[in-house]
């Protein structure tokens, strides 16, 4: 119980950072997506949050299970890879929005995962280089128990998710045509930025 409270408080105290880490990926996506209704948009946000939850649970379990064996360089590589994949996905989404009829775009966008894009994005953002996440990770490695690790990260997730709510203000914007255009362009920029960030992370080690 104390461990869960610790995870929750860590999430609450560092949540604003989670917002700033998620916003560059989630805000362009929400702006670019032209929804049939607000419900669709809110569902996308819920999927994104569920993606984060899944990532946290998996990471919590793995980190707790592996304990000290999960070395710094290994986790760093996973984080950099997640950044690059997030960037590639955002670029793909940008091309899908900018030129949806291109055959390559259509082919890449067909698989089932593409229909759950916000969930996949949430998973990848969940293992992003957010410092609170790294702080939580090091704590779980110290604990060295899979179950405890999962609970710790569940509580951490609950603490941080509150801070994602301000992103809901983007939703009304997405009905404006110009905001969609700007959001689409932002997706392209986000793609390039996260790929560059991930690659730099690899090379700087």
């Amino acid at each position: 119980m104390i461990l869960m409270a610790e995870g929750f408080i860590l999430g609450l105290s560092t949540g604003p950072y989670c917002l700033t880490a998620c916003a560059p990926l989630l805000a362009p996506y929400l702006m670019a997506d032209a929804p049939a209704s607000w419900k669709t948009q809110i569902r996308a946000l819920i999927e994104f949050v569920a993606g984060r939850l899944t990532a946290y649970v998996i990471f919590g379990l793995t980190a707790g299970f592996l304990g000290k064996n999960l070395s710094g360089p290994l986790s760093a590589k996973i984080i950099q890879s997640a950044l690059i994949v997030s960037g590639l996905l955002m670029l793909l989404y940008f091309f899908k929005k900018a030129s949806p009829h291109t055959s390559l775009c259509a082919a890449l966008w067909r698989p089932a995962w593409a229909k759950r894009f916000p969930f996949v994005l949430g998973c990848l953002v969940g293992i992003n280089i957010c410092p609170p996440f790294v702080a939580g990770l090091s704590r779980v490695i110290d604990i060295g128990s899979a179950g405890m690790g999962m609970l710790y990260f569940l509580a951490f997730f609950a603490g941080t998710t509150l801070y994602l709510m301000p992103l809901l203000i983007v939703l009304p914007l997405s009905v404006i045509k110009r905001a969609q255009t700007i959001g689409t362009l932002m997706c392209g920029l986000a793609g390039l930025w996260f790929i560059a960030k991930g690659l730099l992370g690899f090379f700087s080690r």
């Binding site: 560059p24 700007i182 959001g183 689409t184 362009l185």
Partner: protein, 382 residues
């Protein structure tokens, strides 16, 4: 005819003199040394002459660009030369070697500034409230000239404006331009604001802004630094030099600069606009071709509407053979007096030009006179 011309000239002289007097009242350094005072007088004279020429020749953008390019050249000269010890330190303090007020940095790191202000308030030290005072300055400028900052007072804008005027005709005349790209500055602004807050660093300045070559010398000590320099050099060479040169368009200002997007959003609070008179417009498209910042397009011309991205440079007004385009106050040309003579002096255009040259002159007054003073000192010493 002769009498009419003389009256027009007289009005232009009155306009220029009023401009000069206001310039003097705003920033004349009464307590400084003689050389600096002489330099200020020269600068005020220059601004007044530009005002006179605009009114006398009715060629707005031609003379505006002369003023604008001079502003940019002196800005580069002042900061670059000061960095190698030629002249006084241009920075506010020797500890912080940054441009005293870079509007582009402020816009793309806006959330960081807000956060810093929150910390400053928490600390209780008023000395840390600098960005707030800069915010007041920005508000004053925006209320005075709004979006016109980008074509009349920005000390960087003269670079691509000047280069786009080097060749008499564009080297490439036929090309397709995707209209959605006009929203790229807004996308850059919002995205950079978010990632800057995330990284707690001015990301646009570090990675993309080629304009910092005007104010700093850059080291290549780390691979990241080298990559940053390669990236913003590529952006600088392409959007500030090559593309403006061959297409005669202001690429950086039109398609990259996040402050342009910022100002086009907040600049709406300013009443000055460019408007098309539907009864005069023949849809010849000359304004569309002349627009240097990709603001006008076929749809806009058909509907006689001007996008919020317009920075009121006056290029389309100069190009229009029907005089269908004009400066207005909230869409109205404003004629305060019935007399034609007074109308020429008191209308939306003269109010606008007066405000812009006053603000641009005040901005230039911060770095042009000190540089002139330095040159004068060198000449007189020899």
């Amino acid at each position: 005819m002769e009498i009419k011309n003389n009256t027009d000239k007289l009005q232009s002289i009155i306009f220029a003199m009023a401009l000069g007097v206001c310039q003097g009242l705003i920033g004349f350094p009464w307590s400084e040394e003689l050389l600096l005072q002489v330099s200020h007088v020269l600068w005020i004279l220059f601004v007044s002459v530009i005002g006179f020429l605009i009114l006398d020749t009715n060629r707005i953008s031609r003379w505006r660009s002369v003023f604008f390019v001079v502003l940019a050249v002196f800005f580069i000269l002042h900061f670059k030369a000061s960095l190698i010890g030629l002249g006084k330190n241009p920075f506010f303090s020797s500890d912080v070697q940054e441009v005293p007020y870079c509007h582009i940095a402020m816009a793309s790191s806006f959330l960081n500034y807000l956060y810093q202000q929150y910390l400053a308030f928490q600390s209780g030290s008023w000395k840390l409230w600098g960005p707030l005072s800069l915010g007041v300055l920005w508000l004053a400028v925006t209320l005075s000239i709004g979006r016109a900052w980008c074509s009349w007072a920005c000390f960087y804008g003269g670079i691509d404006d000047g280069i786009s005027r080097v060749l008499p005709k564009p080297l490439v005349k036929k090309y397709t331009f995707n209209k959605t790209l006009r929203d790229l500055p807004a996308a850059i602004l919002i995205f950079m604001t978010l990632v800057s807050l995330s990284a707690m660093l001015p990301i646009f300045c570090l990675w993309l802004c080629p304009l910092k070559i005007t104010t700093a010398f850059l080291d290549t000590h780390s691979p990241t630094r080298l990559l940053q320099i390669i990236l913003f050099s590529a952006i600088g060479i392409s959007t500030l030099i090559v593309l403006p040169l061959i297409l005669k368009k202001r690429f950086f200002c039109g398609l990259i600069c996040p402050f342009g997007a910022w100002q086009s959003f907040f600049g709406r609070i300013n009443p000055f606009r460019v408007a098309i008179a539907p009864d005069k417009c023949t849809q010849c498209g000359l304004c569309l071709k002349s627009c240097p910042t990709f603001v006008l397009n076929d749809d806009a011309l058909k509907n006689h509407t001007i996008s919020a991205y317009c920075n009121l440079c006056g290029e389309c007004i100069d190009a229009c053979p029907q005089n269908a385009m004009t400066y207005t106050l909230l869409g109205r040309p404003i004629h305060l007096f019935k007399s034609k003579c007074l109308t020429r002096l008191f209308n939306a255009k003269t109010f606008f030009v007066f405000s812009c040259l006053l603000v641009g002159g005040a901005v230039g007054g911060l770095f042009v006179p000190p540089r002139i003073a330095y040159f004068l000192e060198v000449v007189f010493k020899q």
